[in-house]
């Protein structure tokens, strides 16, 4: 069990009411015989009025999905990996309802560090990775795609924002830090 997994597991226990985001992995055949592709969809199972967030269990789910596609990429079973969101929402960063439950510095650190550790894995896989910003993206939701090799942004997308970089309130997401200049 990796350190990240342990960190997230501990944080998840502190936050039993988390609205958990699933990271579904679906395989598809690319057009023109370009190969097999693994697409991760972030989805909390609710409609667009409940945007997808990254609480500790959600990050653990994404971590597990990356375990799966990392192996498939290493085995040569896929030629690329993508990540996208449910309709109208890509991901809007940390689950702020969890913030008030955090009493210890270590717990807060676990979520912040856990998020960075999971997202960063997308830049170290054996095949190119793609983020498809299909809907609202904020904070960690922006950051996750910045670790991918390539990004596309839907014209339907409202402006992406990194609210914490301006409020300096909960510097967990590092989207502003990672942004290509």
């Amino acid at each position: 069990m990796s350190t990240t997994t342990e960190l997230l597991k501990g944080a998840a226990e502190l936050f039993p009411g988390e609205v958990v985001t699933q990271a579904h992995v679906r395989h598809l055949d690319l057009p023109a015989g370009a190969g097999r592709f693994a697409l991760i969809t972030l989805d909390n199972g609710l409609d667009h009025t409940k945007p997808t967030t990254f609480g500790p269990q959600s990050l653990a789910n994404l971590d597990a999905a990356i375990d799966q596609v990392e192996k498939e990429a290493a085995d040569g079973a896929i030629t690329g990996i993508g990540i996208t969101g449910k309709p109208f929402i890509f991901a809007v960063g940390a689950d702020l309802k969890g913030v008030e439950l955090l009493k210890e510095r270590e717990d807060a650190l676990a979520i912040g560090k856990g998020g960075h550790d999971v997202f960063r894995r997308l830049s170290g896989l054996a095949v190119p990775t793609f983020a498809y910003y299909n809907g609202a993206a904020m904070g960690g939701g922006v950051e996750v795609g910045l670790h991918c090799t390539y990004r596309t942004v839907s014209r339907a997308l409202p402006p992406s924002r990194c609210p914490r970089s301006s409020s300096a309130w909960f510097p967990a997401g590092a989207a502003a830090h990672c942004s290509p200049t």
């Binding site: 579904h24 679906r26 199972g45 449910k86």
Partner: protein
């Protein structure tokens, strides 16, 4: 004001891959209007020389114009596809010949001079809108015996057609179906079909249907390569005990959309748009609703006669395969062999599926590809049978014709 009738050309045609209707089908969670929007956008992407503001009309067909297939689909799909607000649109219904009628109606208007460039297509999401959804047939149809009670059930009309053509046996229908699957598989292997498909992103949340999340559809779902006479022999005949029509020798229940670009020939040349086919003539005809599969025969007679052509002038046929028996009745009428090489070279709806109002443009798109490959052919036709006893035929000329033998 003196008028000149203008030649109308088929510029381009695309479609979504076709899906199987139902909870496990690829488009179960995809809206019908989104399918047609995909097809319209693909036409624009493939024809960058066309300023979308030049499009004078968007005619989109659907049989069941309810919900996501309602709301004046031609107009709403145009807006959703990002066409300028100045481009109008409307909806069309002639059941299975919807997209074909979208083409002929707008083509007639192009010839008249009302339009220069149009988008014509169709959609049917038979999973969201099963055949007969919300219909309310007038009781007089039955009380006054205006039509036989079987007329509303397409499978029954196909059994009736077998009765009219006793020489068309179940065996012949099954043999035809096997060949359709074989030809379609070969067309796929040769890359003839994929070039006119637009990939569609689809969502699935039901884990029973497969992996969940977003996916991408790049191929037709209904195809059954490797179908044999043996595998067809045991299928049920749901429309009549000991009947001849099965799920294997008929098109299925499907979801999909098509779209085409048509233009006045002079405008196409001026804008540098491709000219894939030239419209020669078209015709519709009514027949007894209880044998609606007979419809393509009188429709073709009419269309050929208007063009001053005979069946022997036709070098390529694209016949919609609602039922094998309906294709075989057409071929038998004209003395064409069941396996004639001019007929449905890429296979047909038995393999690809038949999302009712979308299919007409699929036939045209495939005929256009065959014209490109076979410049020795001058004329081809697209024909289909239509519910409630109709047939529809369009005769096309090959602009690549090189003066060859056919």
């Amino acid at each position: 004001m003196p008028r000149t009738i203008r030649d109308v050309v088929f510029v381009d045609g695309v479609r979504t891959p076709f899906g199987k209707a139902g909870p496990k089908g690829i488009y179960h969670e995809t809206r019908a209007d989104d399918l047609v929007v995909k097809a319209i956008r693909e036409l624009l992407r493939r024809n960058p020389d066309l300023d979308p503001a030049r499009i004078d009309e968007v005619a989109i067909a659907a049989t069941t114009q309810i919900g996501d297939q309602g709301l004046t689909l031609g107009r709403t799909a145009g807006i959703l596809a990002g066409l300028p607000q100045s481009v109008p649109g409307y909806s069309i219904d002639r059941m299975c010949a919807g997209a074909l009628t979208a083409v002929t109606s707008t083509a007639g208007s192009i010839a008249f001079g009302a339009y220069d460039v149009v988008v014509a297509g169709g959609v049917e999401h038979m999973g969201r809108h099963p055949m007969g959804e919300g219909v309310d047939p007038n009781p007089r149809f039955v009380s006054e015996k205006l039509v036989d009670e079987s007329a509303l059930f397409m499978g029954m009309t196909a059994e009736n057609l077998h009765d009219r053509y006793p020489t068309i046996t179940k065996r012949r229908a099954d043999e035809y179906a096997v060949r359709s699957q074989e030809k379609a598989a070969k067309a796929y292997a040769d890359g003839k079909i994929q070039q006119d498909l637009v990939p569609v992103s689809v969502r699935r949340t039901n884990a029973e249907a497969g992996e969940t999340g977003w996916g991408l559809v790049t191929a037709d779902e209904p195809m059954r390569p490797g179908t044999t006479m043996e595998s067809l022999a045991g299928l049920k005949t749901p429309f009549r005990a000991h009947g001849r029509v099965t799920a294997g020798n008929a098109a299925g229940l499907n979801d999909g959309a098509t779209a085409s670009l048509l233009a006045a020939e002079d405008v196409a040349r001026e804008l540098g748009l491709p000219v894939k086919m030239r419209l020669v003539s078209y015709a519709f005809a009514g027949v007894e609703p209880e044998v609606m599969g007979y419809g393509p025969i009188p429709a073709t007679e009419k269309a050929l006669s208007k063009a001053g052509l005979s069946i022997s002038d036709i070098g390529l046929f694209e016949i919609n395969e609602a039922f094998a028996v309906q294709v075989l009745a057409f071929l038998e009428h004209y003395g064409i062999a069941d396996d004639d090489a001019r007929v449905n070279q890429y296979g047909g709806a038995i393999a690809y599926g038949h999302p009712l109002a979308s299919s007409g443009v699929r036939l045209m798109t495939q005929l256009a590809r065959q014209f490109e490959e076979q410049p020795e052919v001058r004329y081809g036709l697209t024909t289909m049978c239509v519910g409630f006893g109709m047939g529809a035929t369009v005769v096309w000329e090959n602009p690549n014709f090189n003066g060859g033998s056919k």
